[in-house]
Symmetry: C2
């Protein structure tokens, strides 16, 4: 598999549960993946783990590397941020200069611990809007992956979950939908960045459901094939 024509992907906060899951899916799909972290050591450890898991799955050739968040952003074509909400703004401030002209995939969910099962959307409406506001119009912020269970992403098996994709630029949303499909899911154009509020709020609902059913719930869009 060649990675020549594929964009280089950086995952900021790539050492966390969701970042780890996305890294596995995209590396396995043949993308060049850079794990970004606040420290080189943590990024290195995540890459070692990633290589081990890929070897266990019999995936021979992957292209992965470890960098600090800013260097990872500079080296990538498309950047995903998967840090906790409390670190979203500071991380984006750090990498902002290196993001200009690129797509930022914002995976942030504005949970407010300890009441993570309660919808508590931020002043700015949603984490996605906060990111777009902070980064300015030269960065195409695309909100995605808020409703995918990290545990399922990390597994190699099929995913029974759709992804809502919000952002102000259609072409950028489409590029992210391609990455979602590469990771084994369906992605849906879900409107402008304001609509990120829907997926972000839904995460707390899924947490409520997870507690009741002792599961990792997701959603699927239904009714697509009627008139």
């Amino acid at each position: 598999m060649t990675t020549e024509s594929l964009p280089v992907l950086a995952i900021l906060g790539g050492t966390g549960d969701l970042g780890t899951g996305l890294a596995r899916r995209w590396a396995q799909a043949g993308y060049q993946v850079i794990i970004g972290s606040r420290t080189q050591e943590k990024a290195d450890a995540a890459v070692s783990d990633l290589k081990e898991v890929m070897a266990e799955r019999g995936v021979a050739e992957i292209s992965v590397s470890a960098m600090e968040n800013l260097a990872a952003t500079e080296a990538a074509d498309i950047v995903a941020i998967t840090v906790p909400f409390s670190h979203q703004a500071s991380t984006l401030e750090l990498v902002k200069p290196a993001l200009q002209g690129k797509i930022l995939i914002d995976v942030t969910v504005p949970l407010v611990p300890p009441k993570v099962a309660r919808v508590q959307l931020p002043e700015g409406g949603s984490a996605g809007q906060i990111a777009q506001e902070l980064l300015g119009e030269e960065v195409a912020v695309v909100s995605a992956f808020q409703n995918v269970a990290a545990a399922h992403l990390q597994e190699g098996s099929n995913l029974d979950c759709d992804v809502l994709v919000c952002g102000n630029k259609k072409a950028a949303r489409q590029e992210v939908i391609t990455l979602i499909e590469a990771a084994g899911m369906r992605g849906f154009h879900a409107g402008m960045i304001n609509n990120a509020a829907a997926a972000e709020a839904l995460t707390s609902v899924l947490i409520v459901i997870n507690k009741q059913y002792n599961c990792h719930a997701g959603i699927r869009i239904t009714g697509l094939d009627d008139d």
Copy 2:
């Protein structure tokens, strides 16, 4: 089928698309249904239509009646409100005295025309929270049905759509889930009334998807049967 042990249901704004759909489903399931409207004439017309549709479906015996909104509320055990967001507060103010001690099913979606495909949640967080705040603690507000296509509800066929059920009282949510199941769908406890924001915001996302696919989309919860 007997209606003796079943609660009497009123549907305020029962002449609209969603109210019509709920009335058909519940009447067909054997519930006594009161169509409420701002005028007796409109309620009467809706009941005539309902009887006609039930007759076409071969449903012999239904128990339906028409009243103005306040009288409908007084006569019912459980009340659903399906009016546009712009009429939610005034309708609830009108019927508030008759709602004390009862369950209000709030089906309101806070869409802001003309941009209904854009999430624009209200100051109070959600229409559900606005209703609970306005009605006080003696009314159990339960938010539901925001993500069900009225067109599908009106049909007699199977529904491929789940319903998120939010409210501060678990017993009240459970009663609404029973009504959802009677209407042919699955209902999920989705948290306190704050979480109504998730389902309400999701409606705009589904409107975006409907436009792309020329369909009436809904959602299903997935991943319930894993560990």
